[in-house]
C-alpha cells in the first residue's frame, strides 16, 4: 500500500463521514430536544436527493438542485412536524410510529414516481467535477467539495449553538425542556425550528450525496441506519459527538469495504456495540 492510496482512502472516508454528519447532526438535535428517534429523517434524505436529481436534470445547475432539495425537504419536515407529530406530542409510541410511517410512505411514493433503478446526478454545472491533480496524485474534486461544504456547515452549526441566544435556548431545552418553557420560551416553536432545520440538513445531504453514492428510493433508509450508529457512538443529543462519530464511522466503513468487504455491516456495528458496553451514553453524551 502506498501513501497516495492511503490519502485517497482517508479522503473517501472523510467525504462519506461528511454526509453522515449532515444526517446525524439534525437527528441528534431532534432527539436531544424532543426525545424522538426521528426515522423520517431517512425520508428527508431521499426527498432531497430526488428533488435535486430532477432539478439538476432540468436546469443543469448543481446549486439549484441543492437549494431545491433542501427547500422541499424543509417543507416536508414542516408538514410532518406541524401536521402529525405535534398532535401526539409527548406520547412516545405514536411519535415513533408516525416517523416510521412517514419513512415508509415517502419511500414508496418516491419508488412509485421514479422506479427502483439507481441514479446519480450527472455532471452538472456549478459543482466541482473532474479531478484535482497534484503531481502524480489525483483525486475527485467533488469529494473534496463535500468535505469543504460540510466543514463550513459544521462550523456554522457550532457557532450557532455556542454563541447565539437561540443556540442557548436549544441547549437549555436539551437540558430541561420543562424549565425552558417555564422560563417563557415557546418550546413547541423551538422544536419546529429545529425539526425543519434538521430536515434541511438531511435534504442537503441527499442532494449532495446523490452525486457521490448511487441513489435508490431506499438510500435514505440505508444512510439513516449509518447515521443512527453515528449518533449512538457520539452520544444522543450531542452535535460534537455526531461530528466525531461521523468521521469514525466514515473512515471505518470505507477502509473495511476495501479490505474486508464481506464484513461490512459488522465493522460499523461492532464499534457501536463496544461503545454501548463501555460508555452507554456515547462518547460525548451526558449521563441522565
Amino acid at each position: 500500500m502506498n501513501a497516495t492510496f492511503l490519502v485517497q482512502l482517508v479522503l473517501n472516508g472523510l467525504s462519506f463521514g461528511a454526509l453522515l454528519f449532515l444526517m446525524a447532526s439534525g437527528f441528534t438535535l431532534i432527539f436531544g430536544l424532543m426525545r424522538i428517534s426521528n426515522l423520517a429523517h431517512g425520508a428527508f434524505y431521499v426527498v432531497g436527493a430526488y428533488v435535486a436529481v430532477v432539478t439538476v436534470a432540468a436546469t443543469g445547475n448543481f446549486w439549484a438542485g441543492l437549494v431545491a432539495g433542501g427547500a422541499v425537504a424543509a417543507a416536508v419536515g414542516l408538514l410532518v412536524e406541524r401536521g402529525l407529530l405535534r398532535r401526539v406530542r409527548n406520547r412516545e409510541m405514536p411519535e415513533v410510529l408516525i416517523t416510521v410511517g412517514v419513512l415508509f410512505v415517502l419511500t414508496d411514493v418516491v419508488l412509485a414516481i421514479f422506479g427502483g433503478d439507481a441514479r446519480s446526478v450527472n455532471a452538472a454545472s456549478g459543482a466541482p467535477s473532474g479531478a484535482l491533480v497534484v503531481g502524480d496524485f489525483a483525486y475527485p474534486q467533488y469529494r473534496l467539495f463535500i468535505i469543504g461544504v460540510t466543514v463550513v456547515i459544521g462550523l456554522l452549526l457550532f457557532a450557532l449553538q455556542r454563541y447565539t441566544r437561540i443556540g442557548a435556548i436549544v441547549r437549555a431545552g436539551v437540558d430541561d425542556r420543562e424549565m425552558t418553557s417555564a422560563m417563557g420560551i415557546d418550546i413547541d416553536r423551538v422544536f419546529t425550528y429545529v425539526f425543519v432545520f434538521g430536515a434541511v440538513l438531511a435534504g442537503a445531504a441527499g442532494a449532495i450525496g446523490s452525486g457521490l453514492l448511487s441513489l435508490t428510493p431506499f438510500s435514505g433508509t440505508e444512510i439513516l441506519l449509518f447515521a443512527m450508529v453515528v449518533v449512538i457512538i457520539g452520544g444522543l443529543g450531542s452535535v460534537g459527538g455526531a461530528a466525531v462519530g461521523a468521521i469514525l464511522i466514515g473512515l471505518i466503513d470505507t477502509v473495511a469495504k476495501v479490505y474486508v468487504p464481506e464484513l461490512s455491516y459488522f465493522t460499523i456495528f461492532a464499534p457501536m456495540a463496544l461503545v454501548l458496553v463501555l460508555r452507554p451514553q456515547g462518547l460525548f453524551g451526558r449521563t441522565a
Partner: protein, 252 residues
C-alpha cells in the same frame, strides 16, 4: 393578584389537592407550608401550568362535590389554567423551581440570557431586570459568569435560579423550597435579598419546609394539611405569638 380557587389537582395515581383556595395580594409575600408530600409542589406546578398534575377543571363530579365551583387559577384577571407555561411566564409570574433546575450545560450568563417572558418589556412597575443589574444584585454570579451552571455550588445555583426568574421581570415570584440544602450563611444572603425584593413591591409566593425562613420573609401563611385541604391560614405574626398551628399541622 393571584387567586387560586377551589383547586383540585393530582396525578393518575393520586388525588393530591382537593379544593384549595389561596390568594396573593399585590405586593404581598405569602408562605405555603406543609409537611413532605402534602402537595406544595403540586400547587406550584398547577399554577405555573406544568403538567402533570392534571387539574380537574370541569369535571361534573368535582363540581357537584364542591358545591358547583370549578378549579380556578387567575392572575391579574387572566385565567392561567387555559395557558401553556411560557404564556403564564409572560403574564408576569417568575418560577424558582424545587431543586433549582438551572441549565447545567449553559454558563451562568447564558442561563440569564435565554429567558423569555417579559425580558424585553419589563413588568411596567419596577426597573427592568438586565444581566448587569442581576449581577449587581448577586455579585457572586458575576464572578462565576462564564462558569457552566453545573459546576456551581448549591447556594450559587439557588442565586442563579432566583436571578433567572427575575430576568423574566415578574410581578409575582413563586419559589418552591428555596432553602432546601443550603448552608445557614447562604440562606441568610438569600433571605436578605428576598427582603430587598419585597421592598420593591414584588409579590412572593414561597413554598417551604423551613418554618423560620418562611416566617421571616412572609406577611401571610397558608398551611396545607391532610386530605388535600387547607388546614390553616393567617398572618405570619400570629404564628410568632402563638405557634400552636405549627405544632398541630406541621408536627413541630
Amino acid at each position: 393578584m393571584l387567586t387560586v380557587e377551589n383547586l383540585h389537582a393530582g396525578y393518575e395515581t393520586a388525588r393530591v389537592l382537593e379544593g384549595i383556595s389561596l390568594t396573593v395580594e399585590d405586593g404581598e409575600s405569602v408562605a405555603l407550608l406543609g409537611r413532605n408530600g402534602m402537595g406544595k409542589t403540586t400547587l406550584v406546578r398547577a399554577v405555573c401550568g406544568l403538567r402533570p398534575p392534571t387539574v380537574t377543571a370541569d369535571s361534573a363530579a368535582v363540581d357537584a362535590a364542591s358545591g358547583g365551583t370549578r378549579s380556578r387559577v387567575t392572575f391579574a384577571d387572566t385565567d392561567l389554567l387555559a395557558l401553556p407555561p411560557h404564556e403564564i411566564t409572560g403574564t408576569g409570574i417568575g418560577l424558582v423551581p424545587q431543586g433549582r433546575r438551572v441549565f447545567g450545560s449553559l454558563t451562568v450568563e447564558e442561563n440569564l440570557g435565554m429567558v423569555g417572558g417579559r425580558r424585553k418589556k419589563g413588568n411596567g412597575k419596577t426597573q427592568r431586570w438586565t444581566i448587569p443589574r442581576v449581577f449587581e444584585f448577586f455579585p457572586r454570579l458575576e464572578e462565576r459568569a462564564r462558569a457552566m451552571a453545573r459546576t456551581l455550588s448549591g447556594g450559587e445555583q439557588q442565586m442563579l435560579a432566583i436571578a433567572r426568574a427575575l430576568m423574566t421581570n415578574p410581578e409575582l415570584l413563586i419559589m418552591d423550597e428555596p432553602s432546601e440544602g443550603l448552608a445557614p450563611t447562604v440562606l441568610e444572603v438569600i433571605r436578605e435579598r428576598l427582603t430587598q425584593l419585597r421592598n420593591t413591591g414584588l409579590s412572593v409566593l414561597v413554598a417551604e419546609q423551613n418554618v423560620d425562613f418562611a416566617l421571616a420573609i412572609s406577611d401571610r401563611v397558608f398551611i396545607l394539611g391532610e386530605h388535600g385541604s387547607m388546614a390553616w391560614s393567617g398572618p405570619s405574626e400570629t404564628l410568632h405569638d402563638d405557634p400552636e398551628p405549627l405544632h398541630q399541622h406541621l408536627g413541630l
